[in-house]
């Protein structure tokens, strides 16, 4: 599922680096269609708490997931912006709310640790590894994978509640 093999040429992969709380995260640039500055997100009833709601993007409605809440970070602490990454793959088009977009970097195989022995709340299937970027360490995640493989509904008609 990960984009690591087909993400680029010659051990060089382009990643979008963004912030969540005090931490740095990175996701394959190819899976991110665009980045928006969003002020208002409308909540949707009967969804999980980290489903922040919907926004309108050029006449279409797109759902937004709050990555902070999803990854169990403090939802308030040090929040200083709100950017939405529009993530698209074959299964889904959805927004991911992050604090701020930092940069786009080209990583090489040498400065990525693919099997770090660290504790994380991210599903191991979608945790690519940790990148060493100057003095910082960046969590690399397959954002399309992690967003298209979860159930955001609180209730479902098909599951026959009642």
């Amino acid at each position: 599922m990960s984009d690591i093999e087909n993400g680029g040429v010659d051990n060089e992969w382009k990643y979008l680096i963004y912030r969540l709380g005090g931490e740095l995260y990175g996701s394959p640039l190819l899976s991110i269609k665009e980045v928006l500055k969003v002020s208002k997100i409308k909540p949707v009833p009967y969804t999980v708490p980290h489903y922040r709601g919907i926004i309108s993007l050029r006449g279409n409605i797109i759902g937004v997931v709050d990555l902070r809440i999803k990854f169990g970070l403090d939802p308030q602490e040090g929040r200083y912006g709100s950017s939405v990454l529009i993530v698209e793959n074959e299964q889904i088009i959805i927004g991911a709310l992050v604090d701020d977009v930092d940069s786009v970097v080209s990583l090489s195989r040498d400065n990525v640790d693919l099997n770090p022995a660290i504790e994380t709340k991210i599903d191991p299937r979608f945790f690519i590894g940790v990148a060493k970027l100057n003095d910082d360490l960046v969590n690399l995640i397959d954002i399309a994978g992690t967003l298209s493989n979860e159930d955001l509904k609180l209730l479902s008609r098909t599951r026959g509640v009642l």
Binding site: I54, G59, I61, D151, L155, L162
Partner: protein, 595 residues
């Protein structure tokens, strides 16, 4: 596969869709003709249609279809020349042959090499055609036609076909040639492209979508202009004029998806004819409003429920001629299917003058099936009757039969209409008949909606779900054991549900700044009224329904999304479903807020 059949798939697809459309038209004309066989011009039209199919079947490379069409053509020709009389048998055979052609062509859809045996129909057609006198000229005509068919590599196109024909007619007698020629002349005329083009649905949809976006941006610009008080008068004028044009463009674009009900009315007429024949019942079946136009998807979806209601009326409603005579009714039953457009909705009425619904029987059955409690003896209102009869699995007809099927009944009709965001009610008088009133929106992409506030968030609810709106502050709200709220609405006790809590749960900040006007939306739920208290009502307006992301499908209580003129997105609520899931939702919300 191994066949050396080099058919161009594009041409075949074109032939299939065109022929199916033509056959529908043929069927319609035939049913009209059956009512009045003196209308010979209808025979001409049918001849043209069959002739067209024949021509394109030949040029596309389907000789069997060509041959069968030819036989049908011959029968029509004989009718036209008054050589045979279009009696019940003749018409039935023609209709059956057309049906067969249709299924043949449908078969080609999945497999170009599909082949069906046409000999039986050929024989039948020949039999009715030569039933009176054996017609030499016809035989000769057939022969020459077949010869032509077998000619090497001869594949004339549709337009060339009529030109070829006069040559073969040298052998036919002069008087006959005349009428045939006139018919062919008409046929040639009709081969001219009619003033329509076929467009793939996705193209239309994307056009309509883009226009929807255009409107949103235009209103954003307009609002911006007003807010900032643009100095440039010409700019302000241009923006507001553009608004008018854009809205007109939207009206036109929405009309593109509209098709008349005619196609399904024909199907229904056919179904009614076969059903009454099978049941030996005499019925005067009247259809009104076949020109009423609806969104294609709506037309496709409403067909089966209507056929169901018509069959029900014929089977369970209208009595046999003998029964009717005994009751002092006209021997011939009356069945009406009427469609009319009023505002944004189409109203469909299905009315019969049959036996009506036996309420006692319904009550007994409902008690037996545990739908009603044992002690229920009071007479049923029409609403209650309807809600019992649409209960899944409810059916009062003792025996199962071929026509109305088993088990499935009105519940299927009801759920289909619900899917279309419409509603259905019935009126029935024992001994006098039953009437169903169905209301469905013209399109699924726009609804007439009520914009409301729940706390500080805007929502839209479909107008179709509302019975009325009331001002709750004018009523005394009484609680039961400090819990269930209720009011007395004109003598009826109805429960009051706080919609803001039902939707947001108690976790949501109950913004005190929100102006509450204590409006209540009254809906009908399971035959009873329920009042849903909202923070305030904003306006009633047309709302374009926007599709929500995949992750939001199948959430109960949500119909779809919307984007209003200010560019703000929101959710369209499904009120009956919210009421249905209410208890559960509140619990779930509490669970989460306590975490």
């Amino acid at each position: 596969m191994g066949q050396e059949n080099k058919l161009d798939p594009n041409i075949v697809a074109c032939f299939i869709s065109e022929s199916l459309e033509l056959l529908d038209k043929f069927e319609r004309l035939m049913l009209d003709y059956e009512k009045n066989i003196s209308r010979i011009e209808l025979v001409d039209k049918m001849f043209q249609i069959v002739h067209n199919i024949k021509g394109s079947a030949k040029s596309t490379g389907f000789p069997a279809i060509n041959q069968l069409a030819h036989s049908i053509e011959n029968v029509l020709h004989s009718i036209r020349n008054k050589k045979i009389i279009a009696n019940q048998l003749v018409i039935s055979v023609l209709l059956k042959s057309a049906d067969f052609l249709k299924s043949y062509i449908v078969g080609l859809k999945t497999d170009v090499d599909f082949f069906a045996d046409i000999t039986l129909f050929e024989k039948e057609l020949k039999f009715i055609n030569t039933g009176n006198v054996i017609d030499k000229t016809e035989e000769e005509r057939l022969k020459s036609e077949i010869l032509q068919q077998q000619g090497p590599a001869q594949r004339p196109n549709v337009a060339a076909e009529p030109v070829n024909l006069p040559a073969q007619q040298v052998s036919s007698p002069a008087q006959q040639e005349n009428s045939l020629e006139t018919m062919l002349a008409v046929a040639k005329n009709s081969a001219k492209p009619d003033e329509q083009i076929r467009v793939a649905l996705w193209r239309l949809d994307s056009l309509i979508n883009f226009i929807g976006e255009l409107i949103i941006y235009q209103s954003m610009i307009q609002e911006r202009c007003m807010l900032t008080g643009v100095q440039d008068g010409a700019l302000a004028d241009a923006v507001s004029y553009m608004g008018k044009v854009v809205r007109e463009v939207q009206d036109v674009s929405l009309g593109l998806r509209m098709i008349p009900l005619r196609t399904i009315f024909t199907k229904i007429k056919r179904a009614a004819r076969t059903t009454s024949e099978m049941l030996n019942k005499k019925v005067n079946f009247i259809q009104e409003g076949e020109d009423v136009e609806l969104d294609k998807i709506v037309v496709d979806m409403i067909g089966d429920p209507l056929i169901h209601l018509i069959r029900n009326a014929l089977d369970h409603g209208i009595e046999t001629p003998m029964e009717r005579e005994m009751k002092g009714k006209k021997e011939e039953g009356y069945l009406l299917l009427r469609a009319e457009q009023k505002e944004g909705n189409v109203h469909i009425t299905v009315k019969d003058d049959g036996a009506g619904i036996n309420r006692e029987k319904v009550i007994a059955k409902a008690i037996e099936k545990k739908i009603l409690p044992l002690n229920r003896v009071k007479n049923l209102s029409n609403e209650e009757l309807f809600s019992i009869m649409t209960h899944p699995g409810f059916s009062t007809k003792e025996e199962v039969n071929e026509i109305s099927g088993r088990g499935v009944g009105l519940d299927v009709v009801q759920s289909a209409i619900e899917d279309l965001k419409g509603n259905c009610r019935l009126e029935s008088v024992w001994g006098e008949g039953t009437t169903f009133y169905i209301t469905i929106p013209l399109t699924l992409s726009i609804i007439e909606g009520m914009v409301i506030y729940l706390d500080d968030i805007k929502y839209v609810v479909p107008m179709g779900q509302l019975v009325e709106t009331i001002n709750n502050s004018k009523f005394v709200v009484v609680t039961s054991t400090g819990k269930g709220k209720m009011i007395n609405l004109r003598g009826e006790v109805i429960p009051v549900i706080d919609l803001s809590r039902a939707v947001h749960g108690s976790a949501h900040n109950q913004d005190t700044k929100v102006n509450r006007d204590f409006s209540g939306l009254v809906i009908s739920y399971g035959g009873h009224k329920v009042s849903l208290e909202v923070s305030s009502i904003v306006s009633q307006q047309q709302v374009v329904i926007k599709e929500l992301g995949k992750e939001l499908r199948d959430i109960p209580g949500i119909v779809g999304g919307f984007i209003l003129g200010d560019g703000e997105p929101g959710i369209i609520l499904n009120l009956p479903e919210i009421v249905k899931y209410n208890g559960h939702l509140i619990e779930k919300k509490k669970e989460i807020s306590s975490k």
